[in-house]
Symmetry: C2
Subunit: 334 residues, 2 copies
């Protein structure tokens, strides 16, 4: 496919899109076809600490790398669609704030990319993009009302309601990690206490293990880190729990309890058909979800959970890349 | 207006609707015109304890009373639209459950009313109806994304998103009273602990005052009830606080704090343009809302509250009656 063929083609709607997924650590770019297939990909570092100007240049470099690899010129694209780890003003394509990317306060992203590549540009929240991805191509395919809950360093989420991304007014909604579920709970990066993120995220799981060990409890985690317990990660806690370490098991049980409360709250206010759990912590699988699911089924209003499914995400890290593509391809979703 | 005129009229869309608002205590019926004006009304007791059959008969009696007073035959109506204090399967017009009305578990309501009066019948949750009412004719007029939070014996709510009632899958959503905000909080009627309803409802306000007095604290409430502190109501606590009673002030301050948390959570997940607070407890006005609003504005993500308004409901008890009417008149809302 090259510029000329694209220009003469009548099937403009069949052009692929370039999508990007910009997080606090990595910046990924892909060429995605209409059916959600990733044709080419690029991965680089976000270099978030260097601020918006450098991150934007890295995005340009990633887009150009994918264009070159796929032998496309920008006008062979239907659009560029960017999933970004921040609070997004979708109408204007502006990042209004980003907890893990310093300097992104009211920074236009749509405008510079449109200027550079002269194609339509969409910007959306990364968890929203992942929700669209799972809804369109993943675990939620065929349903209309789903919620994606992403458990990683933090907790995010996205809502599909009646087959459409739920965005709230002006900026993205679905900040599930910042529901307060324990008003006297741990301090959150957002300035409040007891946000779900402080109790059920990967960070929270690691922190709770460190706290218990500092309090004198025994665990194989001490040996696993060679005594440097400050290096404990959620992934280590998972491995220790699989090995039968009782501290690790208790820590994951606690996270599962708060995850259960978070899902209970989401079910009470949204009443979805399916709750999909993604993010790196989702790899703990049934160890984490089993108790959370049982709690939700037991403690919800029966009518609300009769047909509810709580499942793991299917697309892994690619949910955001393909979801951003669906957002560009289908007006009905956004 | 009579049957004959209606039958010959071409402006079928201009027929009024009969709406009902069925709560745990009272059953109200009204004839409502297209512009949301209540033309006639009827009020009776629900007699909830007598079960669904008797309540349905009381509804029939109420509808017939309004028909008679307005000199209409059923086919002079565009529809009958019923707001009901329960979890509603709107598609099928079934009450799937109702915490304050015994026996209403999977009870059809649309079908018997349609059979009796031979007009289209809609059934919706009472707080959803109130949200539609405030959106269409009240405080939220002209906006697209609003949340109604009703504070009374319990806490309920309704969501309007993009000018449409947000219903979730199958049954009504927006059970805001059952968001857990303090996981080790008081036991809730729903079987969980620390639901918002146990901390910021009228019942919670009265219970907290009783608890403090039982614990030996002094208050004018003891005198107001002639020592029968079990008779304390939220309304009395309000009056005592207005008189400067420090226990009553502290109790309302505590409720305002949890109300603030509830609104913070709703803003984080829905990002609405406006939060409207209704229900009997809303009559406490700024005493309750002032601190809650300040907390929400201070502790939310800035982009989410830049244009947010937190206001009191405007239509009082009539919100459900006129909202149910709008639900019947306008397909776009439901």
């Amino acid at each position: 496919m090259n510029k000329k063929i694209n220009k003469n083609s009548e099937a403009v709607g069949e052009h692929p899109v370039i999508t990007a997924d910009i997080g606090g650590t990595s910046l990924r770019v892909a060429l995605v076809s209409q059916d959600g297939t990733i044709l080419h990909r690029y991965q680089g570092e976000t270099s978030a600490v260097e601020g918006p100007r450098v991150v934007t240049e890295r995005l340009f470099a990633g887009i150009e790398a994918v264009l070159e690899e796929s032998r496309l010129l920008p006008d062979g694209l239907q659009a560029i669609s960017i999933a970004f780890a921040g609070i997004i003003d979708m109408d204007r394509g502006i990042v209004t704030g980003a907890p893990h990317l310093p300097g992104w306060e009211n920074v236009p992203l749509k405008e510079p990319v449109e200027k550079r590549f002269s194609v339509p540009v969409f910007v959306l929240n990364d968890a929203d993009a992942a929700a669209i991805g799972e809804y369109r191509y993943g675990a939620g395919k065929g349903l209309s009302n789903i919620i994606l809950l992403t458990l990683g360093t933090g907790i995010g989420g996205g809502i599909i309601h009646d087959g459409k991304l739920f965005t709230g007014s002006a900026v993205s909604a679905a900040e599930f990690g910042h529901m307060i579920v324990k008003d006297d709970g741990p301090a959150c990066t957002c300035g409040r206490n007891g946000c779900l993120e402080t109790l059920a995220s990967g960070t929270a799981i690691a922190a709770e293990a460190k706290l218990r060990i500092a309090g004198g409890e025994k665990s194989v985690l001490t040996g696993m880190t060679g005594g440097r317990t400050e290096d404990i990660t959620a992934e280590m806690v998972h491995r220790a729990a699989l090995d039968g370490d009782s501290l690790a098991e208790a820590v994951i049980e606690r996270a599962a309890y708060y995850l259960g409360i978070g899902i209970l709250n989401l079910v009470a206010v949204f009443n979805p058909e399916m709750v999909i759990i993604g993010g790196s912590v989702a790899e703990m699988g049934e160890l984490l979800f089993g108790p959370a699911r049982a709690m939700v089924m037991e403690k919800s209003f029966k009518a609300m959970v009769k047909d509810l499914k709580i499942v793991t995400a299917r697309l892994g890290n690619d949910a955001g890349l393909v979801g951003a593509a669906a957002c560009a391809f289908e007006t009905a979703i956004r």
